[in-house]
Symmetry: C2
Subunit: 330 residues, 2 copies
Amino acid sequence: MSSFGTTRLKLPDLQEQLQSRLDVVREELARIIAAEFPVIAEVNSHLLRMQGKLFRPTMALLADEATGGPTPRVERLAAVVELIHVATLVHDDSVDHSVLRRGMPTINAAFSHQVSVIMGDYLYSRAVIELVGLEDLEPLRVLSRVTNEMTIGEMRQLLAYDPLEFTEEDYDLLIRAKTASLLSGACEVGALRAAPEIRGALRDFGMHLGMAFQIIDDLLDYTEEEAVTGKRSGSDLREHKVTLPLIYALPRINADERARVEVLMKAAEPTDGQIAGVVAAVTRVGGLDYARSRAQALGADAELLLELLPPTPAREALSASVSYVLERRS
Amino acid sequence: MSSFGTTRLKLPDLQEQLQSRLDVVREELARIIAAEFPVIAEVNSHLLRMQGKLFRPTMALLADEATGGPTPRVERLAAVVELIHVATLVHDDSVDHSVLRRGMPTINAAFSHQVSVIMGDYLYSRAVIELVGLEDLEPLRVLSRVTNEMTIGEMRQLLAYDPLEFTEEDYDLLIRAKTASLLSGACEVGALRAAPEIRGALRDFGMHLGMAFQIIDDLLDYTEEEAVTGKRSGSDLREHKVTLPLIYALPRINADERARVEVLMKAAEPTDGQIAGVVAAVTRVGGLDYARSRAQALGADAELLLELLPPTPAREALSASVSYVLERRS
């Protein structure tokens, strides 16, 4: 029997039992990036203000509690995971020339492109210093591998020659690298003291959950209004990013629809009409349903892995996190 | 009695006894960035072709041999130091929009700005993975601190409000962070097995040597022809970068000369004539002599620290590296 209700889960529902530990994570984050140097402090306080919902730290803390925790140092690990996440966001925004993130100006918009490149490096090297300070190579091993995978994923996306040649296998590699690997790392560093098969199960849980998370993210870009997500819908198509719904649809649409897709991909600035046309074609042949069913299958795989854990409230919360990921609207 | 002659030293003179170890460093570098993924391989092979003279690895190997080496794993550490150096160059070129480096197109020019941001991250996370693989936290401790200092130095430069307010103290902090800290780290990771005072002496040696190195670099920008350095002379002034010769000169030049400096600093693209005028003013009041004498004093401090080491050919080569740094023309 789950203690989580049947209405749509929100992240705060999962975080309810973790409030005091998440406060520690927030304090650790503030401590880690407290700068000796005034102008860095200015950039840092901007970053702290745009702090997110701490989804990754939440997963690390739940993995910890599901495997015999709470372990106090996991809060610091959770803060480092968030720091690595923020560092990659800063560089992603710089690469994408994004101007807004979580409703606030990005570092590249508020300061400059230059500052955002160096600030990302600053945050990442601070994360490594913090991990070294824990006097344990294991979290470093996990998180350096994850960070490297993330860069490989970004590079795959940047260097893809023809987006329309992008296969479902390419897409899976991409979402593993860009999203799932860090969630997997978050769950794994929460379970470092556990037996190897439990640690492995939580790593795989995070990977499946992360892939589902990204598929839903990509799906929301097709389905949701800007008012709900805070992001202009169709923005992936606008940036010529090919995600799962379109990959599934491409071999199934008709010649007319294919032509529309090609026109959009060649347009420097696709119009709302061009985007709506492609969304309609993708929907018609079942691209959205397919993406949703793949996310659900990944979620089911993730839940199965949890059966290796003893039944605890934390295991229930991990299971509820799958529902949260699958049901979220923004 | 030094085995190094009295003619101007070149880097290959210092490297003569290290050829086989430097070959190992090159092999390690190629191994570390051997990519599973074709497009990264393309970027990597570009990086390997623009490989530099391995000055930092040379210092690490000499520090190792001067403190009881050769220790085989130091070659890997030396390769990681070079990798970190390359990662920072890739990001610096991206920040500065440079198009050439060591006579070859930069990553941002050959590929794109985006690729250079992510490639720098890739290289740095590969460096961390490699250090974790050595199963020793000490080199990680040294090199993560160094990398963080470098980002702080870059940030200082980027966020400096008025370059003409830049003091000699600011300049010292900047060159420590951007150049000397990595050379210091290179010398220190070569001496990790040594007694703490020896390890500390080599760390300080690298710091002094690195500061002298950067002062000479900044001086060459005032004095040398493009034909010698491969870099357009006056390029710092052209980019409104204020270095030691000008910092020394500013309170000593007359009102006319000061006006010329201010015009140059406000010119989006300073002319050769404007640059020549400022160089003449800086020279007249002794800015170049002052910079040279500070570099020499730092070099003398560095040499003094070597007296803590037993007399060996490696110690002699470290001492000769001071002469190399002070006498180099490019």
